[in-house]
């Protein structure tokens, strides 16, 4: 039916002879989305992020390219969270829809697989949700990553605590055995060792673990000064509760990345107090953006108005991935791959997401890692210095009420 309608509309346009002035072609950006399957939740969030960018750019009249105003058009297909399907869809976007630019699928693995195809065609692709450096280590010319490497986050954290909690010596690391949580924990352990910390406990737990008492009891006996736990928000909620049950406390308790989301504090209530975390992005780190939205907080307000909740780094990175492409096209004044690629590689983009510079490998190498802490229910930025909203508070409540 829809096809019939569009055919009808198309013939109508031909019949009335749509004027070429009106018909400046839209600028297509292809995006494989994980709308169903295992990554459906993250896929929806990516789409919301992309929509924010496309709508904002079109609201200000589109992009000026070669004397024409070009509106952005997002061409999306669901890749059902399957790597193989993601590749098919990239092929479709390039061959059938003829998109000149791509946004990557969700996650490191699918980004890599799709990146190989994009590289073959020479179509620039921006990845919003791939932080693992190995995705970028083959130095593709067409793959760009918004998230800076995990290692930059852990280095920023270690440097911050080293300075603000100099008495801390022993670190215990407990990580979920999954790509990102395991990766960042390994980076943290390495960064901590380099900085002279004693890593007294470094173990992983399996997905769907519900009883952490074994690991936590061991940690308690080691009396660490810094507990670093990674996992999904649900895991971290359980870990925080069971820490309280076992009377386990430490001067610094860092959990990544759950406490950056409101669900964490609303679930563990007072136990959330003084838990620290980190993030690639948070609206409280208020950057300026002259292209769209104005500031990080204005972005978040616009997002909240549109979707009824705060944006996380995930949606913000998705918006920023599309924004960097749009800025590069506008600046190149062309949709030619080479011209756009050149700007992408050279420019430092000042966005609401923070500064973005696609380094040698194509991955953002501008370290804007945030160290954050929940204080009296509020999530505050502790570092970097120029965005600071509060000072580190030592110690978490040992038990709930």
């Amino acid at each position: 039916m829809n096809r019939f309608k569009s055919a009808l509309a198309a013939s109508l346009c031909i019949a009335i002879g749509a004027s070429p002035a009106l018909a400046a072609e839209t600028l297509k950006i292809g995006a494989p989305l994980a709308l169903t399957g295992r990554l459906a939740d993250a896929g929806q969030k990516s789409k919301q992020g992309y929509d924010m960018c496309v709508e904002a750019v079109n609201e200000k009249g589109g992009l000026e390219v070669g004397g024409e105003k070009r509106m952005l058009e997002l061409v999306t297909y669901d890749y059902q969270s399957e790597t193989n399907k993601a590749i098919e869809i990239v092929q479709r976007l390039v061959n059938v829809d003829k998109v000149p630019f791509l946004l990557s699928p969700y996650g490191s693995g699918d980004t890599k697989a799709a990146g190989v195809v994009a590289e073959r065609y020479g179509v620039p692709m921006v990845a919003a949700a791939a932080a693992t450096p190995s995705v970028f280590d083959q130095k593709f010319k067409n793959l760009f990553g918004i998230l800076f490497p995990n290692k930059m986050i852990t280095e920023a954290e270690v440097a911050y605590y080293k300075q603000h909690a100099p008495d801390a010596k022993k670190v215990a690391v407990l990580a979920l055995n999954s790509l990102y949580p395991k990766g960042i924990a390994a980076d943290l352990a390495a960064s901590a060792k380099d900085a002279g910390y004693d890593v007294v406990f470094d173990q992983i737990y399996s997905p769907n673990t519900t009883d952490f008492s074994n690991a936590l009891t061991q940690i308690k006996s080691l009396e660490p000064d810094w507990i670093y736990a990674t996992g999904y928000t649900e895991d971290l909620i359980l870990i925080r509760r069971q820490m309280a049950d076992l009377g386990l406390s430490a001067p610094i308790v860092t959990m990544t990345a759950g406490p950056a989301y409101p669900e964490f504090a609303s679930n563990v209530q007072q136990l959330a107090d003084n838990v620290t975390t980190n993030s690639w992005w948070h609206q409280n780190a208020n950057y300026k953006d002259d292209f769209i939205f104005g500031t990080s907080q204005a972005y978040n307000e616009a997002f909240n108005k549109r979707f009824g909740r705060d944006a996380t780094y995930l949606e913000a990175a998705a918006t920023a991935s599309c924004e960097t492409l749009a800025i590069a096209v506008a600046e190149a004044n062309s949709t030619d791959g080479d011209a756009v690629r050149k700007i992408m590689h050279e420019k430092t983009f000042q966005t609401f997401y923070g500064p973005i510079h696609f380094g040698e490998t194509g991955q953002n190498d501008y370290n804007a890692a945030l160290v954050m802490q929940i204080q009296d229910g509020e999530l505050l930025v502790l570092a970097p210095e120029e965005l600071k909203q509060g000072a580190l508070k030592i110690g978490v409540p040992p038990a709930g009420n």
Binding site: V94, S108, R120, S178, L179
Partner: protein, 326 residues
Amino acid sequence: MILDRTFLLKIAVGLALFALAAFSAFSLDNYQLQVGTSLAMLAVLCYAWNLVGGYMGYPSLATITFFGIGAYTDGIVQNLDQAIGVAWLAAAIAGAAIALLLGAALLRLKGHYFAIGTIATLEVAREIANNWDALTGGAIGLNIPIQMGSPEFVGRFFFLVMLALAVAAFLVTVVVDRTRFGFGLRCIRQNEQAASMVGIDVVRYKVAAFVLSGALSAAAGGVYASMVAYIEPKDAFNLVKTIEIPVMVMLGGMGTIFGPLIGSAFYVVLNEFVWANFINWHSGILGLIIVGVIYFLPGGVLGTRWPSAKGRMPMRARAAQPRTTA
């Protein structure tokens, strides 16, 4: 090998179909080639499963275990600077070798126990891939050298290789179907003890079928890994896929030479159709349709005598007769 005229005709039709697909490679665009490659890959996996699940009647859920082992073997071997062909051969050999070891243990189990045992292999393999960082790259995954050439060339190359593998799987099935080996497997499906009593070396037959199946699946995994140029545990050892494969063969017709081909194509079309029309309820509706198809066509598309399909002819009644249809 027992070949009557009808069967020769069937082989000819099958080969003609594959030849047609091969020639079409030069007129299809890259997207169509990519879809074709996926389809050919599913056909290989279905043929591989059909040997164990269809002919022998052992409900294996290990197809993707071997697929993943093949994918990782390909990656590891190519990273040792070996040619792509060597890596594929190594993948097939690794699949066969591990099938031999696993088969010797698992094939002592029957029915549900066997199914659970095989699914455990998938979980164990994924955990090993996740944790053996030095060999597999762990959860971070493994980069594989990228096949050089224009997108058109690469698209055609992998399509034709996967298609060649599908032809090989088809021919293996033809040989199995028409020889003493296949006859023995069917006997095992119907009554293992009786098969043993009439002089069939049950253990050897079962392990041989499992090894063949493992080698084919692993070869498909090897080609897939080279195409994707990056593998990670959750993609290589995909739980959903290991369940989808038997469903496809059931839809097409178990223990037949065309069932896996028809089943995989039918399933892909059905999946695309349901997915395009019911994006939110996709999995649920697809599940209902599959249950419906299996209920009304228990022998699959090919295993059904169409005029009597309304009467829902029970599979068991036909299984008792010597099978003459393919």
